[in-house]
Symmetry: C2
Amino acid sequence: MRTLIIDTLTKIGEKITVSGWINTRRDHGKIVFFDLRDRTGLLQIVIGPALAGGIRVEDVVSIVGTVSARPEKLINPKLATGSVELQAEAVTILSKSAELPFDMGQPQLEVELPTLLDNRSLTLRHPTSRAIFTVQAELAEAFRQSARSIGCTEIFPPTISASATEGGTEVLPIDYFGHSAFLVQSPQLYKQMLAGVFERVFVVTHIYRAEPSVTTRHLVESIQLDCEISFIDNFSDLLDAMETVYCQTIKQTQEKCTQQLELLGVAQSLVTNKVPRLRMREAQQIIFERTKVDHRTEPDLMPEDEREICLWAKELHQSDLVTITHFPTKKRAFYSLPDPENPEVSLSYDLLYKGLEISSGAQRVHNYQQLLDIMTSRGLNPDNFAMYLQSFKYGMPPHGGFSFGLERATMKLLDLDNIRKASLYPRDLERVDFRFSDSSK
Amino acid sequence: MRTLIIDTLTKIGEKITVSGWINTRRDHGKIVFFDLRDRTGLLQIVIGPALAGGIRVEDVVSIVGTVSARPEKLINPKLATGSVELQAEAVTILSKSAELPFDMGQPQLEVELPTLLDNRSLTLRHPTSRAIFTVQAELAEAFRQSARSIGCTEIFPPTISASATEGGTEVLPIDYFGHSAFLVQSPQLYKQMLAGVFERVFVVTHIYRAEPSVTTRHLVESIQLDCEISFIDNFSDLLDAMETVYCQTIKQTQEKCTQQLELLGVAQSLVTNKVPRLRMREAQQIIFERTKVDHRTEPDLMPEDEREICLWAKELHQSDLVTITHFPTKKRAFYSLPDPENPEVSLSYDLLYKGLEISSGAQRVHNYQQLLDIMTSRGLNPDNFAMYLQSFKYGMPPHGGFSFGLERATMKLLDLDNIRKASLYPRDLERVDFRFSDSSK
């Protein structure tokens, strides 16, 4: 019967079996120390050289031994189990490891990004890598819980679509039994259709964008978390729901993952109960006054504007989040609702987090004829959107929604310098597990 | 401020606003009755002909009115809100509907499957359709909760892969920046790699199988729910974990969805604490004794065998589930562990539910050299599996796992006659939202 490492603290004097990977091995003549690693932590093993034999790092073992308290002066305060160790009496090797290509035993994994990814099945085992994905799992779960708390039903829409729906970024084509089909760039159209069925829906799903360039913040395949809610009274209703979901998601993740944040040396994000809101033009005015750089006639915020207005929010509102609204209608997707008071701008928003957009959304056009007119004026063929338009033909309530990328949110929450570090097996222009060589074309 | 329909029960005498779709309209001369539908149910609206005007079925409206108790003899016991009604005083039309192509107001939606799917954005609104997907959402959530209860971490592996990994069923190719890539047929290899990182993992993800024929139980795109657990002591450990997860998932779903099961006229599944287990050869012997049909030398169970052994489990063990183990090694995927006591059979299983396989899995090969040998003997090129093999090269614990399709589980739980009814927007050989015409080739 296996004892998990974290449970050894309550087993002093008992003979137990622990199982895991050899994280480090230190030979001191007549005595050998292992740090054994399982999913709950590390445990110091004290073992004789004969018993330790040729066991090496990353070997998978089961060890029978007796738990003992460490002498006061040998307690390791950096380790959750630092007050105990195991006196090994028998070892079973479950699986041997080859020699590692680099040292995995340091507190930080000091390898370059290509090495990190070329050896992904190995490097993910490092405690700092595992911490990133423990936080990511909690982000997804916290999102689901907060989406449910505002009445959303979970949906499972398809990722294969018959038409390239949104334009803008590139799509990935697939050969579908000889028909042309595409991988969706977002669950946008399906979540709207299903908001016409369940009123409020959420989805955690895969999206695909054939980004033609390599950046630190884009992936070809990523996980998107989406909500769409119907029967909103106005744009404010939507922003309230959106900010509630994001604030709850970030707060809950930080609360559940204090250990991981500490291990990664990341400060808690500032999440207030009231996210500051600015219209895009107001944000540009504030930036102009702060920096004397005049972007007041630009049709969108530039990356440096996003960073500057986040500094403003942090300084003046103690908030790492800021909501920017009313982007020009022509800069947003066809389904964004033009502001009835000024159709040049749309009831759209971006949520910025530590200097970068992590979420965008809008109130949507819900009137069938208005939607047809907008599509036609943008050169879209309504026939290609027949299933989507069916929802509007048969009565669609006022609605709107929001979405964010799981990897980007993980990256920003943890101050990572590249989104690839927030994706288990990242897909980009150059890599599907391994970097493409010309011969793989 | 909108009141949800289910909350009208506690608002007798109050003036409120309700919003939703007109589910039915009945004109009785000087008085008109609407059934208004929102996500919480149906409510009878009493309204004058002038106010009712040209409002028709599926129009989206907000109605201001006063809630009144219905006279005893007019109480409708079939409706959750059958003891109240709303006396309408004002109506706002939020969105008009076109005339419906068929009647949506009956308790059962009497349309053929192609009509159901051609009008999917509309037909999903019917209460019986919504009930199916409420159950589906609960199945996924119950699975996550029970996977977490056995210590699994949620993972988000990719769906784009560089090699067609499993063979057998057909793969969907994609054009990946000029490189050849495929959509995964299962998260199998990635969940194993990640069981080498987190020990125990679960995933809810999209899978793709280019099924070349149209059947009632296969889809091209579906949702798969997977677990993989490390440091199992033996095959029994794995079966215990698998049966725990499935029994908890089905039980919790049935408990939370009693209303939906009632609406759909479905009996609760028989889920016992002890799922009967048989080796494949034992099952064939029992079937032979029961039916005199001799399949005792067949290398697999046939569909009629699955049905017969499920009858046996129900009759003798009061169980709608039965676990069949030890299928011939050559009939299972390369990563299935041959039984050390008899390598001709593998430590694999199928879980049968009401006559159909809903889950399969196995203990896996975890020894690097054994895995290489098996791959080579099956004609697989280890170079195509380099990232997968990396996990084994650097120490992989004994492990195994299980998986099931969300749509198939929904279909069986609800006794649906076609898996397409358990998929929001099903993808098959003939259809992506709409049935392909030759011109779409």
